[in-house]
Amino acid sequence: MTANLSVVRDAPARAAIEVADLSHTYAGREGPVPALTDISMTVGAGRFVVIVGPSGCGKTSLLMMMAGLRHQTAGTIHIQGAPIDAPDPHRVGVVFQEASLFPWLSALDNIEFPLALRHAPREERRARANDMLNLVGLQGFGARYPHELSGGMKQRVSIARGLVQDPPVLLMDEPFAALDEQTRMTMGHELLRIWSQTAKTVVFVTHSLTEAVYLADEVLVMSARPGRIIDRIAVPLPRPRTYEMMATDVFGRLRERIWQQIRKEG
């Protein structure tokens, strides 16, 4: 069913995402306020990178800049080898926090939205959106409206919408923050399944350290404002990840190390 979705890309020589010397300053009431300083990071194609950091550290801003939705004051961002300065749905799909679905569209129409914007033929849109609906495990729910879906189902629709144009990069801004703990774990697990089937490069922002370690190949820890990357932690846990891994020493030590970094910043 989903075989046609996992596009096999020739392993690119360069990274999917390259951020170099990025800084951002915004105009506050009492002069310029530095929000991000000297951010440099590289995300290899097909990797799953999680960014964690204290509230207000600018991690969402950083993600919005990678999506071309905001402009940094200094530094460069390359996605798939080319600079990004405006949204490009062919390179980047974005999954936002809760309630970003259009409530006046059905689940299927929400997923089709990006295709409708570029006037894709109706049958192609439908077929593609249905494939996505199956991929995220929502067969039979296409006609439902967002208010008829649970929080977890809504985020599945959001993920399907993010993937519908088959962009190589998926940016996710605290997508599961509004879900209860149990649903959140299930969704994390589902996301890993979808990721392994589609071979996307994922950058995922979260507050949850458990979620970070569970999902990531690599966790980037950001400082309090102005945000810098203060630690890069490789997660050596094997894939596919299982819930049992959370009880292991390795998992606990990684989580503890991130927590210590963030606590110093708080």
Binding site: P87, F96, A99, F113, P114, Q165
Partner: protein
């Protein structure tokens, strides 16, 4: 309570009121000079609807209502959107509009008569004026009901400004816009009626006011029934549409 029961109770209540309207005056429990029996009123209504003079009055009033509506709604919507979209305009005009909104518009009616006389123009101008502010307020609320997150999502998928307008703004605003249409018609209709009843040579409002002054109560009540029927029909039609486009707002 089921929906059917609810409808049955409402119909029973309506029948009770209409029945009392018919029976009580006939039995002399209510002075039939002050409240003529419903049957007499309906007979008068049918007779009135056959008179050319009444046809003319209906045509004049309808024209006034429609022209005033066509002026007030787009103008008010444009001003409302401009105020909601521009911080600069909003900061200047919002408080002023709130002040004017709170003032009863009917106190300005004598000024309209002084400036424009008591003809068609004056009716239209006054009705449009009394409708404009509620349209501005509602249009502002409609724009403010558009969620920044939804605009961001559309932008992230490469939507153009035009696509953001048609695919995010319009559907977000549609329920409130239809509600605005409905409410502004109530204000608009009221404006025309007040202007016609206050000083006029023609129109349904003028006839109603005359019938009242001449103690012609069957005619007066026939006029009330006619206007109520028109107003309710318009209101309910738009409300049905409203329900259809705002099913998602729950």
């Amino acid at each position: 309570m089921t929906r059917l029961q609810l409808i049955a109770i409402r119909l029973a209540l309506l029948a009770l009121v209409l029945g009392a309207w018919e029976v009580l005056p006939r039995n002399g429990l209510i002075d039939p000079l002050l409240l003529p029996p419903l049957g007499d009123v309906l007979k008068t209504l049918v007779e009135l609807l056959g008179r050319p003079q009444v046809h003319e009055a209906i045509a004049v009033t309808a024209a006034e209502v429609i022209v005033a509506f066509i002026i007030a709604v787009p103008l008010g919507a444009a001003i409302g959107v401009a105020i909601a979209e521009s911080d600069y305009l909003g900061q200047i005009f919002k408080p002023l509009l709130f002040y004017v909104f709170s003032v009863p518009k009917s106190i300005f009616l004598p000024m309209f008569i002084l400036i424009m006389g008591i003809g068609f123009q004056q009716k239209v101008a006054y009705a449009a004026f009394s409708t404009l502010f509620v349209v501005i307020m509602s249009a502002t609320a409609a724009v403010e009901s558009v969620k920044a997150d939804h605009v961001l999502v559309a932008r992230s998928y490469g939507a153009t400004r035009m696509q953001i307008l048609t695919r995010v703004y319009v559907p977000s605003m549609m329920p409130i816009l239809l509600e605005t249409l409905r409410i502004s018609m109530i204000f608009n209709f009221t404006g025309v009626m007040i202007a016609e009843m206050y000083a006029s040579r023609t129109g349904i409002g003028h006839l109603i006011s005359n019938w009242g002054e001449n103690f012609q109560l069957p005619q007066l009540f026939a006029g009330v029934i006619l206007l109520a029927a028109v107003a309710i029909t318009f209101n309910e039609t738009v409300r049905t549409l409203e329900h259809r486009v705002s099913a998602w707002r729950t």
